[in-house]
């Protein structure tokens, strides 16, 4: 057999071209969304033909007898991510509005109580702002849940935010009330700073206080159980009794004051053990 003639172009060997890996779209998992929302289902291939980067034969469709006929658990709306993103943006706007309004809402409370310059006033403002922000973020979570169900629910979700804010403003931003005399009966060692905030118009005979929990977010400090609040002999003033264990760790503690008849929170008792 005659040997095939070499193409002259082949006689000069070109230097081999070294191939390189493609630049990766990312180098690790993205858990930001899955932590809160779970893993979105992978998109179904649109046809049997393979698309770049997405092999169509991923599913073991050939072995149909082995593939469960169980219904897909969690078939999700393919538009979930844009919707949630929109929801988050809306929520951020709502939080920002709430943040601004929280000062407006909380300041009158402090002013009306005449406690703006008292120790603990900042706690009251902080508490009010925290409460608002918590509710707004709760609304954010609600939106995250409801958004995948359909954009038609959006108005309702934003209404939640407004209604919470309005309710809060309406409830606590009232016409003000005369100050209430508070007396303190302190048992236990060590310097402490105590402040009491209550809503105007409360009935001192119907209130009580929860155990006081540490405000240190990551704290394992035990709560203070030895706090009580009751009406004074005149029925209009308040008597706060605080019994502290000598081993109670330093720090700030807060307990909710609530109306025993309605169950509503009507104020807060803040104790700072400074040592």
């Amino acid at each position: 057999m005659a040997r095939a003639k070499k193409n002259p172009a082949e006689s000069v060997s070109a230097p081999p071209v070294r191939k390189t890996r493609p630049i990766p779209e990312r180098t690790g998992p993205v858990r930001r969304m899955t932590s809160a929302l779970g893993t979105p289902s992978a998109k179904k291939p649109s046809s049997s033909a393979a698309a770049p980067g997405q092999p169509a034969a991923q599913a073991p469709s050939q072995e149909t007898n082995a593939v469960s006929s169980a219904p897909a658990s969690g078939e999700s709306n393919p538009n979930i991510l844009p919707l949630v993103k929109m929801g988050q943006e809306l929520a951020e706007q709502a939080i920002e509005r709430a943040r601004r309004s929280s000062g407006e809402t909380a300041s009158p409370i402090a002013d009306s109580l005449g406690v703006s310059n008292l120790p603990g006033a900042k706690d009251a403002l902080s508490l009010a702002e925290t409460a608002l922000r918590t509710w707004v973020e709760l609304a954010t979570q609600v939106m995250r849940v409801v958004l995948p169900l359909g954009p038609q629910l959006l108005p309702d979700a934003t209404k939640i935010v407004d209604s919470i804010r309005d309710a809060f403003r309406g409830k606590s931003g009232g016409e003000g009330s005369p100050g209430i005399h508070v007396s303190l009966n302190l048992k236990g060692a060590g310097p402490v700073r105590v402040s009491v905030q209550v809503n105007p118009g409360i009935s001192p005979t119907d209130i009580s206080v929860q155990p006081l929990f540490s405000l240190d977010r990551s704290s394992t400090k035990p709560p203070i159980h030895g706090a009580s609040i009751a009406a004074g002999r005149d029925g209009r003033s308040l008597e706060v009794t605080l019994s502290l264990s000598p081993t109670q760790p330093h720090g700030r503690y807060l307990g909710a004051i609530y109306d025993t008849a309605s169950g509503n929170v009507v104020g807060g008792l803040t104790v700072e053990i400074t040592g």
């Binding site: 071209v17 493609p22 180098t27 899955t34 932590s35 979105p40 469709s61």
Partner: protein, 723 residues
Amino acid sequence: MKRSSKTTPSASSLPSPLARTRVAIVGGGCASLAAAFELTRPNAPEQFEVTVYQMGHRLGGKGASGRGSSGRIEEHGLHLWLGFYENAFRLMREAYAEAARDPATCPIATFNDAFKPDPNVAVAERLRGGDWLPWVATFPPAPGLPGDPAETVKLFSVREYLIRAVRLVASLIESAGKSTHLDREPAPAPPEGIWSAIDKLLRYGALATATALREAFDLLLGAISTFAPRSENVVLKLIDAVSEAVKQQLQTLIEADRELYRVFGVVDLVLAILRGCIRFGLAFDPRGFDAINDVDWRDWLRDNGATQSSVDSAFVRGIYDLVFAYEDGDTERPRLAAGVALRGAMRMFFTYKGALFWKMQAGMGDIVFSPLYEVLKQRGVKFEFFHKLTHVGLGGARGTPDDRHVAALEFDVQAEIVGGGEYQPLVEVAGLPCWPSQPLWGQLKNGDALQKQDIDLESPFDPTVLRKKTLRVSQDFDFVILGLSVGALPLVCKEILAEDTRFRRAIHSGKSVQTQAFQLWLREDMAQLGWRGDQTNLSAFVEPFDTWADMTHLIDAEDWVTPPKAIAYFCSVLPERKAESAGDAKAAHQVVRNSAVEFLRRDVVHLWPRFLTPSGEPRWNLLAAEPNKKSRKKSVGEEQFDTQFWTANVRPSDRYALSLPGTIADRISPLERSYDNLTFAGDWTASGLCSGCVESAVMSGMLASHALSGFPALHSITGYDHP
């Protein structure tokens, strides 16, 4: 045992399109073969020419198994597949479908033949006085089949896991209540909102009755379903109240009731997990469970309120045993990254499909690596057995990452094939293509002489080398996937180790552990041996062999003249020992043998009371073996143990990859591009699961394929973005 009649087309007989990108995959374990599988999908956008280089005679890495005398299956250890191994199961379902084995001639022709569900799991509790009591649990079947199409799989958010955890606790309390005098009135739905109801409940401290406790669980479910950042304190207080109430209601009862004691332990742990997830803000942390990977899981549980007895419980030890989570093989030093453990536990118990466990119906080599080998061969993948990698040579300028690349791969060729053909690695046992435990010496040049030398071609320390072989970039390969064990990489990547701090940190952090295992073939069944229960898988047992599985179902897959009545596998970590030579490996082998004999003398009686004679001596004659053609001497007494199988997994490639606290962030992702033609694959990499298991390895292999080719798409790797 005969040579497998299943023939696969030679790669050279297939058309080879020009200009295909050539990929050299070094190592033939799960991660490597998963990468090869993805790179050679027939309908992939780009076709790759893949060659797998394998030391010794068989594929499988730590999952390799072999067939010995009587067709016995000889494993590295016990391999159970968990029902959440979505990617690994999907790979196998596709492999079986594509292999298209003939059911008329092959006893394991389909996926359904290969894997069977196993709902039973047990842990052993140590009682006062030194006795051990098995606690067997049967998990109900779950919808679906593992490996169902990726687009149907929906994994949970952290919040959803927490909701399921609350439901689990509530149902456990409910079941506990059925065996006690706790009242069981249905919990009324709160007429007011959840949060004000919680406020009331906490305020009045009214959790003294089971009804109130049930109501509290309902509220807890509601709270977890809706809580937002910075409202954690309320939820935490509710969990504390529930926890205290559970203790008050059950504490007095658990002393007298072992079942309640177990329930209390699980409830205590789950409440600690709930408390910890909320305290650490895991539901909103962009790192997901990885946020707590710097602490040990037991410490984390303790810090979040679990009692010491719960942390020391068989349940927690069983999890540690499952992943050999003992640093340096020291069972006094349990260490497991909390995030990895939590992710694994959540997925294991809440997302399994079909059954909690799935058992292979033959050896792992036969069930997993034979069909993968067949399919990859059909696709044109080349396999170069007896190629031991000795050095990875770098090219490119130092300090210019974009130019860094692998320039050469140097191998010791350990053996050559008679006639220069391809090595045919499989044998047929009971009609099934299997891997033999030893090389098929008859196919090798000077095979008889090699066999007589008592060499170990699967050991990197074996000196056997016929010739050196160097592959060069652009001439012989374009891309490289190093699919080696983390224990083996330092031996061959000295240049990378010296220059690359990122790689060095990953290797030094990526600790691994030696393991040990032994297998028994028994002439009496488990009931005759005194085991009271179904076929099961038990862990948290006494060291040195903390895990046992009844593998009697494998009898039909072997090739006995007189079949045994039962098969049992035992395994555990092996305390770290020097293993740098063949002599070290033999010494370790002897240590395992002695430990196993001691275990059978002293400990197995807790599982099999009738394995011992009334005088307390093991009934060695129960160990089944067929006559050895080479030796006419009949074993007696303890010598009969030597007819069984045991292994000391001390070779670098055998070591099990640990997930130690504080090391997970150091793992290298196959997606990283420190070298422009190299990636890594293995369960030691940042696979998303980051645990030593076949699922992690397969995910890593898929990522390695994606790194080189852009596919499979990352969203089709189930669980990669899981929290």
